[in-house]
Symmetry: C2
Subunit: 381 residues, 2 copies
């Protein structure tokens, strides 16, 4: 173990025991001395992303959770179904830190990177729901002058995902995109990028309010999956844009299959003659989220044979795109942090508040438009 | 239109009218004179493949079919649901020939290919459920000495599909295979190829009888999807073979997802540590058939993020593999037509018998192991 650097801080931890009990708590830990190439960041802002909730809860259901402890040191317990334990065998009894990304101020710096002391930086890579985070200096992004930790907290997951969609589109030979849950923070970023870059984007939303929000931001193609003319409107938008690649945050239910079927209908309208096996134009939908955790269901007859469904995950996708592309995308995020990649939060909360029943219910509901920002230095009792 | 060559023959035709009536019948047509590079083949044997049934019936259901006409000139009529017509708009009112492949004797030959007269050849490319078939000589395969039309009738679809699976496996960087409906003619061929080439193959069957059949043919890994230990047996076989690519003839229901989940379970057992998003080993299942025409259903949690599902179709797959590979595969089929690629038929029938109720019900049932061979020169009244 590294020697302590004299600082102590709280970390939010998630632990699932072998007998199937999830426990969430704040742990006071001594912050280690940084190595020569490392820094200690005092975390000032870190968002609650859907991807954090998976690590936080595992397969436990929030409905039956018990909220105990004190206001300053809450403890949440929930039981995990025995059948779900084998899939997470490797995490049982381990105390896992949570939180993919955040930003703050460098309060300790190793010998090789002392110049970073006092700088504001953004960090990605886990364990950010904490007051302090040790990190390799090379993995951090020094925030530009005039950028606050609030501005930089969500610098990685959503911006790099939105840019990753566009780069994947280019890599795989498509020319336009479909996106679901399109009114999300991520969706709004993608819309801005596509408008700026002249890329056709079909935004699928779930309410007229979300449609109005995106149209207000200049979106050209917005279809409401709840509207009675959804299929026809989607097919028309696909015909106009020529989109043959979709990114779906919903995952469960019929939506991904409906997108493939509408892509195929658009392709058949554009083709001449009868092809028993359908269009030979390849249609692809990647499932990158789990807003609907139920099973995915699709019919094959309306989609022909030239189709693919697959998982899409940011880190492997970036790896496939290559280091040079990733560096280019990071540069764009830094330059446009307060414009294209600005995030909007419903509420700011402390680490302790992140474990209160009403807060947890709100962020675990995964409703588009609800987004929380944790300020780990706030309300420490 | 080309001038007639003096021959007349029957062709089985499928027509769906704009008002939604399917009509199957035998049409007497004048055989055209072949062009300089063409031949006329007197078709002596042509199989009923699952892929033919799609063209034959379209979206019509056989249950409500009416069987009329005479014994020598049967006519089958069935109604097509109005909702299904838009997807097949391009074939409405067209009289479509049926039958992907077959073999016979060259009875007319164009000026450039007179040397083929009297030869036995195999043909692929549609319109084979007929007494005569005009074809480009270059598209035909001259059958080796001692090979009958019965031996050569199923020379293309199943053999090239089985070989195509293996080549796709190599092209996409996998090292072993999973196959469903593995006791089919195609499955038996694939098993022979994998045994000969030393490729790990997990055969998924639906009954103990099918398992015994494949084991009798030397299959090393056979799992029965109806057995209570299916998931455990499949995972064990995937661990032993390292198969991360599956070809699924069933299509509907949970099977493809079960295969992906078992591949992921095998990959997680082999990995160390806890990875919230699952294994990063890519797992792929291609759906190439529709034995179950119901919706495809899968759960995402057990399969992680590194997975793909997609359609697989022989002709585009061969195109992707390239002309040199296709030529090599054709050469292997020719050399092993009476061994590896021998087909087994349940019954031999005439063109007229192919439209009888009991025959149609048998081949449309798509039961593994049932396979019909049409002899178009037989029983012509």
């Amino acid at each position: 173990m590294a020697e302590g650097c004299g600082l102590n801080g709280l970390e939010l931890r998630s632990r699932i025991s072998r007998d199937g009990v999830l426990e969430l708590s704040l742990q006071a830990v001594a912050v280690p001395e940084p190595a020569a190439d490392e820094i200690i960041v005092q975390v000032e802002a870190t968002p609650v992303n859907p991807s954090d909730i998976g690590v936080l809860l595992g397969p436990a259901a929030l409905d039956a959770a018990e909220f105990g402890g004190t206001a300053a040191r809450p403890v949440v317990r929930a039981s995990v179904p025995a059948a779900a334990l084998s899939a997470i065998a490797a995490r049982l009894d381990a105390s896992l830190p949570v939180g993919n990304e955040g930003a703050g101020t460098v309060v300790r710096a190793g010998a090789d990177v002392v110049g970073l002391l006092g700088k504001r930086v953004a960090v990605f890579g886990g364990a950010m729901w904490a007051q302090y985070r040790r990190a390799k200096a090379a993995d951090c992004l020094v925030l530009p002058e005039g950028t606050t930790p609030r501005d930089g907290a969500s610098w990685y997951v959503n911006p790099m995902t939105a840019l990753g969609f566009v780069e994947t589109m280019r890599q795989e030979g498509h020319t336009a995109l479909v996106h679901t849950a399109a009114a999300s923070n991520l969706g709004q970023m993608l819309n801005s990028i596509c408008l700026a870059d002249g890329i056709g984007l079909v935004n699928i939303v779930r309410s007229p309010q979300q449609a109005a929000l995106l149209r207000g931001q200049g979106a050209r193609h917005v279809v409401d999956s709840g509207a009675p003319d959804f299929t026809a409107a989607l097919t028309a938008a696909l015909t106009e844009t020529g989109a043959t690649l979709g990114f779906d945050a919903v995952g469960g239910g019929p939506l991904a299959g409906q997108i493939l079927a509408a892509m195929e209908a658009a392709a058949r309208q554009a083709a001449s003659g009868y092809h028993h096996y359908g269009s030979d134009r390849h249609k692809q939908v990647y499932l990158y989220g789990r807003l609907n955790t139920g099973p995915t269901i699709f019919e094959r007859a309306p989609i022909g044979f030239a189709w693919g469904l697959g998982g899409w995950l940011l880190m492997p996708a970036l790896k496939k795109l290559g280091a040079a592309t990733e560096a280019r995308l990071r540069g764009r995020v830094t330059a446009e942090l307060k414009t294209t990649f600005a995030s909007h939060y419903t509420a700011e909360i402390s680490l302790a508040e992140a474990l209160r029943p009403e807060t947890m219910r709100a962020y675990c509901q995964r409703a588009t438009g609800e987004k929380f920002l944790i300020l780990p230095q706030q309300g420490v009792g």
